[in-house]
Symmetry: C2
Subunit: 701 residues, 2 copies
């Protein structure tokens, strides 16, 4: 038991005599024997207390960092300082704290526990230690560089600050991605869905391989020159390609949403970045899974190619369906229970169900990011309409706050890691190669694909858009999370260090340079998507014509299906299922249709139906349902909202009076009504439910 | 390296061939050497993946549990089923899941990592393992009972589910306690502050010693009979007394708030339970700190008694001041920055500052619970008035939700622990003794103290109140958290198991029996504190007379100070400091007074000034300030609120129309105005800012 004496070296017992007054009766009654065992007890207790105090202090550092970031963000906003984005700012603060922790603070020896050495021949994840007949379990923390004792103590502190990457995946990422889906401008997203899928899937794969091949060249060269300090295989190069190919929705969302750039450009960049995160995750885990087969790498079959492609699709579509399924389930629960009477319960349920999507997908071996993204979209499309007004506000605000905090936490943590992570491998050649590869990989993604897409698109992606997409392919939270997940080997450590630098560079330089870049490329900023939207509802100019081809038959079928079956099934909106389902399903339909659907046959009009509605060709299709003025039967309209115009609470929450005029005119569009069954009661569209989007001036503050 | 082959036993690589299509060019370019190292890489990566999947699954279990709880709570509320409280319900679900995990699920061998044995002669917290020249660090997880291999794997799973108690202290408790402070009905709390302090401080110490002595008797008897399987010292008995003496604010708040019981009874029970948590923490850590001095326990001095009493006070008042200081800092920041233009930033800051109080206190060795409680009270009293309307709503709702989730999580976790915790020691004699001791300890707290307090109180604490206080001394989250914190020794394990049973019993039996108990004691439920409040403003009956003596001179001095200096300094309310501070401080006062204070000289009237205001004797004191109709200058009044009566958004959010009438009449109370400096512009009191209280019908849903 060589460790007990050292523990007391500097740990002054501050409350040692604290109990004396209370112990007075005791001491008179009689003292205790076996002081030794009691001492042991105290040691464990005090260890727990000390460790608790340290944990609190480390957590406090992050909280303080975030507080500082918030105050500085406010100062920047207040002074209209635009050159450094808040994510970049969070990183800088993180860096500073990292420097202080690394070089400024030395943990006193006595505060930590003593280290024993035990020479075995393997490093399993779990270790059982036999101490005079009792077994204690130990878990692997990681490799340490053996230095002086002081070194070990400091390392201990730094490692505690560099917390478990699992926290990223299970706690910090879900709210960010969910918020992205929940507040997605679905109309613009779906209008560009083809291009987005092309960039996200094909583009990421291209980029991954371009980067992988370039890095393989560099690494081979480094091996020849003798600059490589460890193994670096081709699969490692590909893995690196996969993790740095993912562009970041967090940063893109932050910068472009604030600048209010052209909605199509925004949709392309954001859509790509959300989906390619998912692609990068699936790709990188495929590469890892492929590695053990490396020993028989020459036995190659055509079947395997097909099969693996199938698995790739399976993982993606599995995650997709999981996300949608949870969303639908939440919609059903909120529709058929009267949970809306208790907004707190409702919000709690909504929050838990949405989070469980992520965990469920991860637990099933799917990708939680994809699942939670589509869950968010489904929740916004269906469940949101079932929620009470109170819960609608609560969920919006809750996820906005969570997103904000998680985002800033991740970025300040990134800054911190540069100094607190202990196994950095900075290799100048590798870093130069990586920057070159990332640049070329992005170019090989954007330009050829844009060329191909422009062949099919009416609404061409201009060269200036392409340059901006090239420039704004920022790397961020996901790249970081993927690279920190495993830093056991030399190759992974070098990747992690390089990735960190790439993230810093793109967020600071490319992120900060986005505004100048946009004005240089003469792309207008400050475009209000509402204005664009509402004017397109009035005019039937060339722009809408061009979208017609993209919102072609698959979308019409979808819209019809959604409008006639899904919305009535999952929400309180009409038309009642009894009217749309064939007669044989009558009893079931009556059972599933909510009483409100009968009074309230107008559809809950919102985003992604808009773009079809606005298409002249589709308006005839729309006429097969009657439209009533009152869609509010299913919702308790709060006095604060009911007074305003139909668009007052629409997509982006607030419109200038002038714009509102346009918007109101826009919705007064008279649709041809030729439904013979039920005479149209009115031609004014019902007030749309407010979609869960944050108001523009608050969104990124 | 005897562990690699076993790891692959059952872990089918599902994505092994996933990468093949992408690897096609690679394979043509050329394969890799050194398969072994690559294999190692893969093993680490796959371990990380597997562990991630497990973590997700475990977290998912809790999320599902909570979801289920929410749905059942809704069902209970919907069907007006009252016999089982939701906290009890959460525990039952936790129990069920615990049973399933314990007996139903066996983790396949291959999913876990292999265990190595290493015989050393101590069990330090950190272990360095030398694996062929590289050092790996391991941390202590705890003692395991050495069984079959299957046993170890299952234990691993159960231990993963039984997560770190630190999570309770740093993540789950702060929001609950903060919410308690933030939504505290300060008027009732401060009206009974003397009695609350007596119950909380003296009562808890009495109870601790009564329980400790009784348990010492039982333990001694058990030792004689031979029923004791390990050491159990007198300090352990006292420690047990300390942890089970704390009554639980969570459960009390939950049950009594919902029943709308008499406000004084509620204030007594709630105030006691919040403060005695803090007392219990300080007491138990004192007992632990005292233990090492056990070897020279007979050297007893009068100085030491004084000193330890001083330290006790120091810890308590240190925590108190830390909490208040953070609250004041937040108030200053929100007052002097224009953060209110960005509600998201404001809410974020508010949230982070409040949380940091807890961590700061813990890191300084103070008690975070006390700090965060008083921080919450300060935030509600000052900062809340500076926030934008949007942030006021957001913070209210955010903490309400966090509180709800954390609370239910803790209770379902408690249920789970009964089966997932692996070192239970259930000793029937000890358990019987503990139940008896807890009962007698509570009686020794309530009845003698009530008798003494009634000698001084005008508003007597009736025998029926005393019986209810006796009965509703539920043990809950804090008792559980304190007992799970250290379960290393036999004594602690037995304490933990017994504590768990006590918590179950009190929450299920006493909690469920509260409603019958109240009606049996003929204590009215469904009392609206607003009604009571507003009628007391109209009538000057005997009840108000009786409170006069409790709101005596210390409170008047405090009120004056608060109203003339603190409120103008920390919020935008008047009177301006330039008027209240002596002339010599002119420049400073001008600097600190917000421009709104000049226009807006009416105080922001709220809860804890009310009880003085309502006292007839004090109204003359109140007259030394002018009252203006408009207190809204400092707040952007949202259209949704501005239309309603002055009380529409008051303490409890919603009043029936009839009650609102009374309330309005209540505030039209004409105060004698005899301030010669500024003529009173009107006699109607300004609309009070809505205090951050949850609406009654939503609060505990």
């Amino acid at each position: 038991m060589g460790f007990t004496p050292r523990r007391f070296l500097g740990a002054k017992p501050p409350k040692a005599s604290l109990l004396l007054p209370f112990l007075l009766p005791v001491l008179l009654v009689g003292g205790q024997g076996d002081e030794n065992a009691a001492l042991n007890n105290v040691v464990t207790e005090r260890m727990a207390e000390e460790s608790h105090r340290q944990d609190s202090a480390y957590l406090l550092i992050f909280i303080m960092l975030l507080t500082l970031t918030i105050l500085t963000i406010w100062l920047f906003k207040h002074r209209r300082f635009r050159f450094l984005h808040e994510t970049g700012l969070a990183m800088i603060y993180g860096l500073l704290v990292g420097v202080i922790l690394r070089f400024g603070i030395h943990v006193p020896q006595s505060m930590n526990d003593v280290v024993l050495e035990c020479a075995v021949n393997a490093s399993p994840a779990t270790l059982l230690v036999n101490v005079s007949g009792r077994f204690y379990e130990y878990t692997l923390k990681g490799e340490v560089s053996r230095g002086t004792d002081q070194q070990v103590q400091d390392d201990e502190m730094l490692r505690k600050v560099t917390f478990d990457p699992e926290v990223f995946f299970n706690i910090l990422l879900p709210p960010i991605i969910f918020h992205a889906g929940y507040s997605l401008k679905r109309r613009h997203f779906f209008r560009n869905i083809g291009s987005i899928l092309a960039y996200a899937f094909m583009g990421t794969v291209i980029s991954c391989f371009v980067i992988g091949l370039i890095m393989y060249g560099f690494v081979s060269f480094m091996k020849v020159v003798g600059q490589l300090g460890g193994d670096f295989f081709f699969t490692d190069c590909l893995f690196f390609g996969a993790i740095v190919s993912a562009t970041d929705p967090v940063t893109v969302l932050a910068i472009f949403n604030e600048l209010k750039v052209d909605v199509d450009l925004y949709a392309l960049l954001f859509g790509e970045s959300v989906l390619n995160d998912a692609v990068a995750i699936v790709l990188s885990s495929s590469i890892v899974a492929y590695q053990p087969a490396g020993d028989n790498s020459h036995s190659f079959e055509a079947m395997a190619v097909l099969k693996s492609f199938g698995i790739f699709l399976g993982v993606f579509s599995g995650s997709f369906s999981l996300g949608v399924a949870t969303g639908v389930m939440t919609a059903l629960v909120t529709k058929f229970t009267k949970l809306r009477d208790f907004p707190l319960l409702e919000t709690g349920l909504f929050f838990l169900m949405s989070w469980s999507t992520f965990l469920l997908a991860e637990a099933c071996g799917m990708t939680g990011v994809v699942a939670v993204l589509f869950c968010g979209i489904t929740q916004a499309h269906y469940t949101y309409n079932n929620l009470s007004r109170d819960s609608q506000d609560r969920t919006k605000q809750l996820f906005e706050l969570l997103n904000f905090l998680a985002e800033n936490f991740i970025f300040s943590y990134m800054g911190l890691t540069l100094f607190s992570f202990q196994s950095h491998v900075f290799n100048p050649m590798f870093i130069i190669g990586a920057f070159l590869a990332v640049f070329l990989g992005r170019a090989a993604n954007i330009y050829p694909l844009s060329f191909l897409l422009n062949l099919g698109r009416r609404n061409k992606i201009g060269m200036n858009f392409q340059h901006v997409m090239m420039f704004a392919g920022l790397r961020g939270a996901m790249t970081f999370a993927l690279s920190i997940r495993d830093t056991a080997t030399y190759a992974r450590q070098m990747m992690f260090s390089t990735t960190l630098l790439i993230v810093f560079f793109t967020v600071w330089i490319c992120g900060g340079g986005t505004t100048p870049m946009l004005s240089f490329m003469s792309i207008p900023v400050g475009v209000d998507s509402d204005q664009e939207h509402s004017s397109s509802a009035v005019l039937d100019g060339s722009q809408r014509r061009s979208t017609k081809h993209e919102s072609a038959w698959p979308f019409r079928i979808w819209y019809n299906f959604d409008h006639n079956y899904l919305k009535p099934l999952l929400t309180h909106s009409g038309p009642p299922l009894t009217a749309t389902l064939p007669a044989c399903c009558g009893p079931l339909a009556r059972c599933l249709t909510s009483p409100q659907a009968y009074e309230n046959e107008g559809p809950l009009r919102d985003d992604d139906s808009d773009f079809i509605l606005n298409d002249a060709n589709v308006s005839s299709m729309y006429a097969d349902v009657t439209v009533s003025t009152d869609a509010s039967g299913s919702r308790t309209i709060n006095p604060k909202h009911s007074g305003a115009g139909p668009f007052s609470d629409s997509r982006d929450g607030e419109l200038d009076p002038a714009e509102r005029d346009v918007a109101i005119r826009g919705t007064r569009l008279v649709l041809p009504m030729d439904d013979p069954v039920e005479p149209p009661t009115t031609v004014t569209l019902p007030p749309p439910p407010s979609p869960p989007l944050s108001e523009p001036h608050r969104h990124r503050l």
